[in-house]
């Protein structure tokens, strides 16, 4: 899109084409001649995204209350191992750190399991396994695996880092782990896959990507 001077990440229609929309709504009477050369058909219409978002949030909220009440009901009923397994399978949401959950992994509660922090930057991927207290156990990254420069920012490098981190962790006797992902980089999914391939069992995935509420000013936009 040559008319746009600045790079916008991942938008398929330029805001310059807003003149097309404006002319259709009659908001701007002039300058339609400029958009005449670039008039394109609109993309396939979906339902309004704001409405879909509220629907999904409402449904998620309803599901959450339904899930917790379902867990309580199954516990108070004649509890067998099968009922515990079905309650574990049916819930997407993590057990709240109150007292109600009967879910155990290797004898440990959810809040006592070790955490695998995966920091997926655009140039590298770091993996650090810590205890639930915060004590660091294992630390690997694409650089420690022998990759250099551009090869570090690949999903394959993240996978090898995951495999080596899992190997070191199983040597220390860790089986179940909850994963916390930070950042949107190329190694985001493949690091978790590498952890499972290396022998650790991932029980939950959290996203801890830092979203500033307009804090520090980031660097200026790139012009490519």
């Amino acid at each position: 899109n040559d008319r746009k001077p600045l790079q916008t990440h991942g938008c398929h229609q330029s805001p310059r084409r807003r003149r097309f929309f404006r002319s259709t709504f009659g908001l701007q009477s002039h300058s339609t001649h400029r958009s005449a050369g670039q008039v394109t058909k609109p993309s396939a219409p979906n339902c309004c995204p704001a409405k879909a978002r509220t629907k999904i949030c409402e449904s998620i909220g309803l599901q959450r209350t339904l899930c917790t009440s379902a867990v309580r009901r199954q516990e108070t009923a004649a509890s067998t191992t099968s009922s515990a397994k079905t309650s574990r399978d049916s819930s997407i949401f993590p057990p709240i750190i109150g007292e109600e959950s009967s879910l155990r992994w290797g004898g440990k509660k959810f809040e006592e399991l070790p955490i695998a922090h995966v920091k997926a930057t655009y140039n590298n991927t770091h993996i650090q396994l810590t205890e639930s207290t915060g004590q660091s156990m294992v630390r690997t990254s694409c650089g420690t695996e022998g990759f250099k420069n551009i090869k570090k920012s690949t999903p394959i490098a993240a996978q090898t880092a995951g495999i080596s981190a899992a190997a070191k962790a199983t040597a220390k006797g860790v089986k179940f782990v909850r994963v916390v992902v930070k950042g949107l980089g190329p190694g985001r999914l493949s690091a978790i896959k590498g952890l499972t391939m290396g022998g650790l069992e991932v029980i939950s995935i959290t996203d801890n990507t830092p979203v500033p509420h307009n804090g520090c000013r980031p660097r200026k936009a790139r012009r490519t």
């Binding site: 600045l6 790079q7 990440h9 991942g10 229609q13 805001p15 084409r17 807003r18 929309f21 404006r22 259709t24 709504f25 609109p42 219409p45 979906n46 339902c47 309004c48 995204p49 704001a50 879909a52 978002r53 999904i56 949030c57 998620i60 399978d89 819930s91 997407i92 949401f93 993590p94 709240i96 750190i97 959810f110 809040e111 909850r178 949107l184 999914l189 978790i192 896959k193 499972t196 069992e201 991932v202 029980i203 939950s204 995935i205 959290t206 996203d207 801890n208 990507t209 830092p210 979203v211 500033p212 000013r217 980031p218 660097r219 200026k220 936009a221 790139r222």
Partner: protein
Amino acid sequence: MSRHLRFIARTVMVQNGNVDEAYKILNRILTHDGVIDAVKRKRYYEKPCRERQRKNFENCRRIYHSEMARKITFISVTNREDPWLGC
């Protein structure tokens, strides 16, 4: 996120060892909540004039898509009551 309780928001449990499925669910939740868009946008600074243009563009796009979807659902209704019934 140091001021918030951990492992409550943006968390998905893995069911039956399906890590890919859980990651897809997490991604869908994040995109619907606008988190992924916000992170991508805040990577580089967006000047206020560009931000106003983008918001305007997204407003117009939202109106256009909702109107078009309404029209299409109206036109694609096939089971209408017979207007000439009784003739």
